[in-house]
C-alpha cells in the first residue's frame, strides 16, 4: 500500500470554503462550513447517514447551490454565473455512487464525449486519451462494449476514467464503492490509490477506513451538517476528541 507521507501537498489553495450555509427549504443541511483544501491533499469525509457529506461535495461543483458564504475553487468563485460554473466543472471531476455512465453510448464514447464537446479536442486525440486512461484503470479491452455489459467494479473504473479524460485538477468521490459487491471494492480502491500517488487532489466521501488510513492526509468527520472534527488519519482513529466521533468510530470499526 501507498504511504501517505510520500505524497506531496503544496501550499497552493485548491478549494476554499468560508462560512458556508445551505438549506433545503427550512431544513438547515450545512452549517457554517469552513474548509481549505490544498493542491495534492487527499481528504476523506465520513459521518453518519444524512449528515450532509454528499451535499457538501456536491456544492463544490455546484450540483447543489449554497445560500450563504463563499466557495472558491481554483481561484474561481462559485456564484450563479454560468460561465464560472462551467469553468469549475471542467476543472473538477466527480465519481458517483451509482456510476452514472451513459447507457446509450459505448465505453469509448462515454470517455470521449466531454473532451470532444466541452474541451473541443479532435476526435482522434480524444480517443487516444480515452484508451490511455482505460489502460490505466486496466480495462482497455472493454472499449467497444456498452456500460450494461460490464460488472459494477468495471463500470466504476470506467466512470473514474471518464472523469480523468477531462484532465481535472480535483477529483470528488461520493461513496464510490458502496454500491459494489465486496470482491469488486478492492479493484476500485486500487485505482483511487494509484490516482492519489500521482498527486491528484482528492475529496472522498467513504466509509472505507482502510483506504483513509492508507491514503488520506486528513479525515473530516461530519454530523448534522457540521464539520465536527478533522485530523490526520493516525490521530483521528487512535485519539478522537469529540464524543460523537468516538461513537461513530466505535460503530463502524468496533463490534
Amino acid at each position: 500500500m501507498a504511504e501517505a507521507s510520500k505524497m506531496h501537498v503544496s501550499d497552493e489553495v485548491a478549494i476554499q470554503i468560508q462560512d458556508m450555509n445551505k438549506w433545503y427549504g427550512t431544513f438547515h443541511v450545512l452549517r457554517d462550513i469552513n474548509m481549505t483544501v490544498r493542491s495534492g491533499e487527499r481528504i476523506v469525509i465520513c459521518g453518519p447517514s444524512g449528515s450532509g457529506k454528499s451535499t457538501l461535495i456536491r456544492c463544490i461543483n455546484r450540483l447543489e447551490e449554497h445560500q450563504q458564504g463563499q466557495i472558491v475553487v481554483d481561484g474561481i468563485e462559485l456564484t450563479s454565473d454560468i460561465k464560472n460554473i462551467d469553468k469549475v466543472r471542467s476543472e473538477v471531476g466527480m465519481v458517483f455512487q451509482h456510476f452514472n455512465l451513459f447507457p446509450h453510448l459505448t465505453i469509448l464514447e462515454n470517455l470521449t464525449l466531454a473532451p470532444i464537446w466541452v474541451r473541443k479536442v479532435p476526435k482522434r486525440e480524444a480517443e487516444e486519451t480515452a484508451m490511455y486512461f482505460l489502460e490505466k484503470v486496466k480495462i482497455p479491452e472493454q472499449a467497444k462494449k456498452y456500460p450494461g455489459q460490464l460488472s459494477g467494479g468495471q463500470q466504476q473504473r470506467v466512470a473514474i476514467a471518464r472523469s480523468l479524460c477531462m484532465k481535472p485538477r480535483i477529483m470528488l468521490f461520493d461513496e464510490p464503492t458502496s454500491a459494489l459487491d465486496p470482491e469488486m471494492i478492492k479493484e476500485v480502491l486500487d485505482t483511487m490509490i494509484q490516482l492519489a500517488e500521482e498527486g491528484m487532489t482528492m475529496i472522498c466521501v467513504t466509509h472505507e477506513m482502510g483506504f483513509a488510513q492508507a491514503v488520506a492526509n486528513r479525515v473530516i468527520f461530519m454530523d448534522q451538517g457540521q464539520i465536527v472534527e478533522q485530523n490526520e488519519p493516525k490521530e483521528f482513529f487512535s485519539n478522537p476528541k469529540s464524543d460523537r466521533t468516538k461513537l461513530f468510530l466505535s460503530q463502524i470499526l468496533g463490534h
Binding site: 466543472r89 466527480m94 458517483f96 447507457p103 446509450h104 466531454a114 464537446w117 466541452v118 472523469s163 477531462m166
Partner: protein, 367 residues
C-alpha cells in the same frame, strides 16, 4: 474393461413420430387442444363459412362498367338472377382519381406525383444512415419544393418563405456569441416570424413582378382525397416532433416565463377538441395577424394539426424525460456539458427512445 465396445459416432436422431410433427401436431395443439377449444374452433369455422357464403357471390357478381347505380343493379339481376347481390365497382373505377387527388386538375397530376416520389428521397437520409449525407439537402428544401409542385404559382413564394429560416439562422449566429444559446434561439425564431409577417409577402411579390417564373397555380380548394391527407399528415409529423421536444423541455425549464408559456400552450391545446380549434382558428388568426393577410385554409389546418400533435407529443416526451434517472443529468452537469449539449447528447437520445412507442401511437391517433 479396455476392450469393451465404445460407440465412436453418435447415432443420428430419428424423426419424431407422425403425431408429433407437422400439420397434425400443429392442428392438435392449436385448434383441438381440449373440448372447449374444439367447440370454439368449430364455431369459428361455421362463422367463416357464413361470411364467405355471402361475400363470395357479392364479389363474383361485381360489375365494373355501368353508368349509374340502377344500371349496375339491373346488370346484376340479369346476370345472377332475382335477389342476388353484387358489388358495384363502376363508381370506384370512374372516380378513383378523385379519391387520390381530389379536384386537382387532371392534366397536372404529374406535379403531386413527382412531389410524392421526391418525398421518399427526402425521408431516406433521415431513416437510413447509409444514404449519402448530401441527400439531406433535398430533405431541407423538400417543403419548398413540394409546396411549389402542389400549389404552383410564383416560384418566389416558397423561396422567400424558406428565407425566413435563413433569417432565423443568421440572427442566431450573430447573437449566440453575446446572449447564449437559449436567448439567441428565441430571438432567431422571433426574427423569422417578423420576416414572415411583414417582409415575406412584399419581397415575394416584388420578385415575382421582376422575374415572373412559376407554374400554373392550383387553389387549396382543389386539393382533396389521399393527396390532402398526405400533405397535412406529413407536414404535421415533420414539424410537430421538433416543436413537441421544445415544448417538453420548456415545460421543465427553470426559467419561469418559458415554463409558463409552454404549460399554457400545452394545456390550452389539450383542453380543447381539435374541431373547436379549427373553428376558432379563423377567428383568432384574424385578430392576431395584420389585417389583409389571408391565411390559406389548408395552411391553417396544417398549423393547427401541428400544434395539436405537438402538444400531445410534448406530454409523451415529458414522460420519457421523467423516466430518466437524475444521475444522468448530474453526470452530464459534472462533466461540464452545457444545457443544450446535455439535452442533445445525453438526455434526448434516451428519453426519445423510451417514448418511441407512445410517439408513434400519438401520430397515428392525431394525424
Amino acid at each position: 474393461m479396455s476392450d469393451s465396445f465404445v460407440r465412436i459416432e453418435m447415432v443420428p436422431a430419428k424423426a419424431p413420430p407422425l403425431s408429433e410433427r407437422g400439420l397434425l401436431k400443429w392442428l392438435r395443439e392449436n385448434l383441438f387442444a381440449g373440448p372447449f377449444n374444439t367447440i370454439l374452433t368449430l364455431a369459428t369455422l361455421y362463422a367463416l363459412f357464413l361470411l364467405l357464403r355471402n361475400v363470395i357471390p357479392w364479389l363474383a357478381n361485381g360489375v365494373w362498367y355501368a353508368d349509374n347505380l340502377q344500371e349496375c343493379r339491373d346488370i346484376i339481376t340479369a346476370y345472377a338472377g332475382e335477389g342476388a347481390t353484387g358489388a358495384c365497382w363502376a363508381m370506384i373505377r370512374e372516380r378513383w382519381n378523385q379519391f387520390i387527388f381530389g379536384l386537382y386538375p387532371q392534366d397536372l397530376y404529374w406535379r403531386p406525383a413527382v412531389a410524392f416520389v421526391l418525398l421518399f428521397g427526402a425521408i431516406a437520409p433521415v431513416l437510413f444512415p447509409k444514404v449519402p449525407r448530401q441527400m439531406l439537402w433535398l430533405t431541407l428544401f423538400y417543403p419548398a419544393i413540394a409546396f411549389f409542385l402542389i400549389w404552383g404559382g410564383s416560384i418566389w413564394t416558397p423561396i422567400v418563405a424558406m428565407l425566413g429560416f435563413g433569417v432565423m439562422m443568421l440572427a442566431y449566429r450573430v447573437l449566440v456569441g453575446f446572449t447564449g444559446v437559449t436567448v439567441a434561439g428565441v430571438l432567431g425564431v422571433l426574427a423569422a416570424v417578423l420576416w414572415w409577417l411583414f417582409a415575406d409577402a412584399a419581397v415575394a411579390e416584388g420578385l415575382a413582378r421582376a422575374l415572373p417564373i412559376g407554374l400554373e397555380s392550383v387553389g387549396s380548394d382543389e386539393l382533396g382525397g389521399f393527396l390532402l391527407a398526405l400533405v397535412i399528415g406529413v407536414t404535421a409529423i415533420a414539424f410537430s416532433l421538433p416543436l413537441g421536444i421544445l415544448l417538453a423541455l420548456g415545460r421543465q425549464s427553470d426559467l419561469p416565463v418559458i415554463k409558463m408559456i409552454c404549460v399554457g400552450f400545452i394545456e390550452l391545446i389539450r383542453g380543447v377538441p381539435l374541431i373547436t380549434l379549427l373553428f376558432t382558428a379563423s377567428l383568432l388568426l384574424g385578430y392576431f395577424l395584420p389585417s389583409g393577410t389571408n391565411l390559406d385554409t389548408v395552411l391553417r389546418v396544417i398549423i393547427l394539426v401541428t400544434f395539436f400533435a405537438a402538444a400531445y407529443l410534448a406530454e409523451v416526451i415529458r414522460g420519457g424525460l421523467a423516466a430518466l434517472p437524475r444521475g444522468q443529468y448530474e453526470a452530464a452537469d459534472a462533466l461540464g456539458l452545457d444545457y443544450w449539449r446535455a439535452q442533445r447528447l445525453i438526455i434526448l437520445p434516451q428519453a426519445l427512445k423510451i417514448s418511441i412507442p407512445a410517439i408513434v401511437s400519438t401520430f397515428i391517433n392525431r394525424s
